[in-house]
């Protein structure tokens, strides 16, 4: 256990597939080392539902596909000192942005009216369901992002490098082999 105060890290998945979070866990045993230096705030790994003020590092997976995503992203920006876009979806919308060339209504019609094996055709509509955006947007279009980790997903090693650089108080740099886009 280090003497220094642990850094508080929050993570969330917006319009992403969770693959980037899985890659985070692909740091394997190093997770146990990491936990000596950080503590988790809001994250899919904890039951903290809102990011706490003064959180040191926020990590965002996924782009913006609905109003709820935008809200969560703003909450992260307001409460995190450093905000990181993790993976292709956060950086440029990724695969979910493939829907951007189609009108939203066309997709809804397809899924809820014309798709085979449906008993009833009906587009879900309820105040509990957040409003979808017409197009999927990258997160840097809406808030300032401090660092970007490319990849779909970035490797566990890449995520580890960025976090350990930040923990050491230095500017994160991926360098050769860790910078990839697939």
């Amino acid at each position: 256990m280090s003497e220094k105060k642990k850094l508080r890290v929050a993570t969330t998945s917006l319009a992403g597939c969770f693959g980037c979070h899985m890659s985070f866990l692909d740091i394997d045993e190093r997770l146990l080392t990491l936990l000596e230096h950080i503590e988790f705030d809001r994250s899919p790994l904890t039951d903290i539902k809102h990011v706490s003020p003064g959180t040191d590092i926020g990590i965002i997976e996924g782009g913006l596909c609905n109003a709820e995503n935008v809200h969560v992203l703003r909450e992260f920006r307001a409460n995190c000192k450093v905000l990181i876009a993790m993976g292709a979806c956060a950086i440029n919308g990724g695969l979910p942005a493939q829907r951007n060339h189609l009108p939203l209504t066309t997709i809804l019609e397809e899924v809820y009216h014309t798709s085979p094996g449906l008993a009833n055709g009906l587009i879900p509509n309820d105040p509990e369901l957040p409003l979808p955006l017409n197009q999927v947007h990258p997160i840097h279009e809406v808030v300032k992002i401090d660092y970007f980790i490319p990849g779909c997903p970035p490797s566990g090693d890449a995520i580890w490098k960025v976090l350990t650089d930040l923990l050491a108080g230095q500017e994160p740099a991926l360098g050769h082999g860790l910078m990839h886009y697939d």
Binding site: C17, L45, T46, L64, Y112, I123, E141
Partner: protein
């Protein structure tokens, strides 16, 4: 089998409590509960709240892109989508029978994923509830708390998952979103060095998996009052089963039973799934509600996943896991076990089975062969079905003469459990929340019931959508990027 508590009579008069987001599950979901002034529960719903539209934008893409695209539905079990799509496309390229090498390499990939996904779900996500209690301190109720208090258990969880991920990396090329399976086969075999590296650890992995079964068995049987009744509901159940009725995650025919274990159908060719399963849309969730056509909406819904599979098969074709299955069936006492928390026990039995199958495969020299792809007479339509970690997964495609996808229909595992999860949380709400002050710990009980199913709400969002009302998106400077209104 009722929809009790699905819809309140006069919701506007009730108080709303939300669990948002549901945590320690994969993906995005929320629960809403409506209570009256006496804290009586009137409505409980698990909502799936995101939109993807994969089924639509896959159309127009060349078919060979599909196995790589669709796994981006879900990064938790991408291999399931990768393989279900590849199996559907095998039919389209006329690969009726894969080469032994391709078949076994795909199996190895899939069982590696079963192992990593079950380990992740049990150790990283659920063990805090099971080890500390459902209403234990929220700051400790996570993997960090497990690391602090049960470091050995946490470490094994991390290493079990790591092993499964390594199996995937060696067969698919990458740990998440690999490219190993292609229509008609695979594009990579194992090298001798890779095989030896996996062989070096597999016996330890099997031993730890056995310990994990015994751990959850102990937790379960020590508190039967809780574990046999928490969130309980009765339902039909379904899975694919292999030859001779074996537990098989990769291939087989559909079998379903009613709540007493009586066969509803068996030996059903997966290509004909639409004759048996239909889906209903309800306005308050983007996730559809499937059911057996022959029985109808009201009573035809079912559950899938480990609890269904372990009780649906006739035997598990590996010795240690088969032994544990028998223990479980004996404990259930001659009729099907429906308790949601028994999912954890059966999940660990499956993890053990996956480890044993990996061991057998690693001793098979076909894995080293380079006879990897076959082709045959081209077809226009194919269905691929697989048992994903959380249950039966259907991929269905039509392709035109230009090799372009013209139709895609997916029923993901979690969708199959939609009604089941809603029933479980309604039971928990009725039992634990009604007429009491709602606390964080009580709300976690609802999430415990959801977690038992290991839902992947990420997959389940693939086909979501809703008419926009009004939303304005501003950029960093406050300039409007776009605005929407209802019906836009």
């Amino acid at each position: 089998m009722t929809y009790n508590l699905e819809t309140a009579q006069s919701p506007e008069k009730l108080r709303r409590v939300a669990i948002d987001p549901v945590s320690r599950v994969e993906g995005h979901g929320k629960v809403t509960i409506l209570l009256d002034e006496h804290n009586k529960v009137h409505q409980v719903r698990l909502h799936i709240v995101e939109f993807r539209g994969f089924e639509k934008f896959i159309q127009g893409r060349p078919y060979w892109e599909v196995p790589v695209m669709v796994q981006r539905l879900c990064g938790i079990c991408p291999v399931s989508h990768h393989l279900a799509a590849s199996k559907a496309l095998d039919i389209i390229v006329g690969a009726k029978r894969l080469t032994p090498a391709a078949d076994k390499l795909r199996r190895l990939m899939h069982y590696g994923q079963m192992l990593q996904s079950h380990a992740l779900h049990f150790f990283h996500l659920c063990s805090p509830d099971l080890l500390f209690g459902f209403d234990s301190d929220v700051t400790r109720r996570n993997i960090v708390g497990v690391v602090a208090e049960h470091p050995e258990i946490a470490k094994r969880g991390v290493l079990l998952r790591k092993f499964g991920q390594e199996v995937i990396r060696m067969t698919a090329g990458k740990r998440v979103h690999g490219t190993g399976a292609i229509p008609g086969g695979v594009n990579k075999s194992l090298t001798l060095a890779e095989r030896d590296e996996l062989l070096k650890d597999i016996y330890q992995i099997i031993a730890w998996s056995r310990d994990a079964v015994h751990l959850i068995q102990k937790v379960h049987t020590q508190d039967p009052g809780l574990y046999n009744s928490f969130g309980i509901f009765r339902s039909n159940f379904m899975s694919i089963v292999g030859k001779r009725g074996d537990l098989d995650f990769y291939d087989g025919t559909l079998r379903a039973r009613d709540d007493n274990g009586k066969l509803l159908f068996d030996h059903v060719d997966v290509q004909t799934y639409q004759q048996h399963i239909e889906e209903e849309v309800r306005p308050w969730s983007y996730m559809k509600f499937p059911y057996f056509k022959a029985i109808g909406k009201e009573h035809g819904w079912y559950k899938v996943g480990p609890l269904a599979r372990v009780q649906n098969c006739d035997q598990i074709p590996t010795p240690f896991a088969e032994h544990e299955r028998r223990e479980f069936i004996d404990y259930a006492g001659g009729s099907p076990m429906h308790a949601p928390l028994a999912y954890h026990w059966t999940r660990m039995i499956e993890m053990l089975h996956a480890a044993e199958v990996i061991k057998e495969l690693l001793h098979d020299d076909d894995l080293l062969s380079d006879d990897l792809v076959v082709q045959g007479e081209r077809a226009m339509e194919g269905v691929g079905v697989i048992e994903a970690p959380r249950g039966t997964l259907f991929h269905h495609y039509q392709v035109d003469e230009n090799d372009v996808v013209t139709m895609a229909n997916l029923i993901v595992s979690t969708t199959n459990n939609n009604q089941a999860m809603n029933e479980a949380i309604r039971h928990v709400a009725r039992r634990y929340l009604s007429s009491r002050e709602v606390t964080e710990g009580l709300l976690n009980h609802i999430e415990v019931a959801i977690r038992a199913f290991d839902p992947c709400l990420s997959c389940a969002t693939h086909a979501l959508g809703k008419m926009p009302l009004e939303v304005e998106l501003l950029d960093v400077e406050g300039t409007q990027i776009h605005a929407l209104s209802r019906g836009a």
